[in-house]
Amino acid sequence: MYDKDFVKRAITSPFISYLSEDIVRKELVDGYKNSVRSAIIAPGQCDIINEVKVEYDNGYSRTGMIVGYPYGGMSTNMKVYLTKYARKKHLDEIDVGFNVTAAASRDFDKVREEMKLIMEAAGGEIKVIPMLWMVKFPFEIVDELCRIYVDLGITSVKTSAGIHFGRMQVEHIEWLCNNWGDKLEIEVAGKVRSREIAERMIEAGARFFHMGSWRRLGGIGQDIQFDFNTKETKYGEYKEAE
């Protein structure tokens, strides 16, 4: 796969706490310049992403905001409030953390009820992309979540977050595509660290990749690295384990 094609499948999300404003802006600007699929921000960053979009819009890259990400531990009221806010700011999509506690308790009515309210708040004007937490949940729960999402008219899902032990595997994507690939577009998130694995996931049916390492995997540069000694954040070389 050409690097340019891979980058068009990338989703960047500069809202981690060890960033600074200049790096956030650079990630968004470079994302647009390189035509990433989406740039996802936190609720406090809507103005900056809209400014960048006005200046660098390429007719392809989308703007998005997280809602209840990643644990879904916010109340339904707060998720609805944030959804309405994202809609007011004319963003293209929201990445939603579902009610993980309810799902873990197999209280799927609660999960459905909340997601329905979020969809209503989105009003068809903003695309809702909920998570699945595939690295944590058994397929039985993931299956039920997918069923709920499809019933509610959702068409894309994000496989996990990046804040966890464990990584998304090709087998996760194979299972998801085999069971729901005809109804749900798959955005992979969850510590995908190599181009080889990403390409195998594409073969298995993945469409897009939400990743901090989009530059390195896309062959266009180095990613953001945090130095725990100096507490500096800068673009630098990623070293794989030997």
Binding site: G44, G73, S75, Y81
Partner: protein, 228 residues
């Protein structure tokens, strides 16, 4: 320090994706049985906590703008008021550290002020995330916490990982040095909560030795039951 005394400064927390309603109930019962100072939960767990408590007294801390903290002041204020309405008696918020790391101190002031106002008389705690901050940043944020009358500052979020020498993920935890830095910065005007992967009695002792006023841990019950 006796286990009972430790309990009075110990918070039990369940802030992860694999906890279900039974875990929430269990946390409440452990807290009541062992005398925790508080429990820390997601806002979506508050109805279950209220149901299990059934009128009994327990300080319930809801985490807001968690874990990233990158929210506008009015968004944090909304979530705080919503959580208090659902039964929270304490609030813990993740600080907007992109503002901190960018030196946007007026915005940090605005954030803390909005949270203080929204929280009213509830205990209000700010999560500093020392793991990402230089000593100067820690000092400055603590100064602002003092000025804006935050009740407690917490050292860490406790959910992020970093690679070890083999590139395997390991949890970033609080260290005694973090507690010492924060204690020095607040100069006794704000209480300090040691928080972040506190998984053993020895770790707990080290952090108390470094001056922590409170401890917050997923392993609170184990620590208290085995404390000598």
């Amino acid at each position: 320090m006796t286990a009972k005394e430790l309990g009075r400064i110990m918070g039990g927390r369940i802030l992860e994706s694999y906890y279900d309603y039974a875990h929430v109930s269990n946390l409440v019962y452990e807290a009541l049985d062992l005398g925790f100072e508080c429990i820390q939960v997601f806002p979506n767990m508050l109805p279950k906590v209220k149901e299990v408590l059934n009128g009994r007294d327990l300080e319930v801390c809801a985490v807001v703008s968690y874990p990233h903290g990158i929210f506008l002041p009015e968004q944090k204020a909304f979530e705080i008021k919503d959580a208090i309405g659902a039964g929270a008696t304490q609030i813990e918020f993740a600080v907007h550290n992109i503002n901190v790391r960018s030196g946007n101190w007026e915005l940090v002031h605005d954030e803390f002020r909005a949270c203080r106002q929204a929280a009213g008389s509830c205990v209000l705690k700010a999560i500093l995330e020392c793991e990402w901050l230089t000593d100067e940043m820690i000092c400055k944020v603590c100064e602002i916490a003092v000025e804006e009358k935050i009740d407690r500052v917490c050292t860490s979020i406790g959910v992020y990982t970093r690679p070890d020498e083999n590139k395997n993920d390991m949890l970033i935890g609080v260290e005694p040095e973090d507690v010492r830095k924060v204690k020095a910065a607040v100069q006794g005007k704000v209480k300090v909560v040691a928080q972040g992967n506190i998984d053993s009695i020895s770790k707990c002792r080290e952090l108390l030795g470094a001056g922590a006023d409170y401890i917050s841990s997923e392993y609170a019950a184990d620590i208290l039951r085995n404390w000598e």
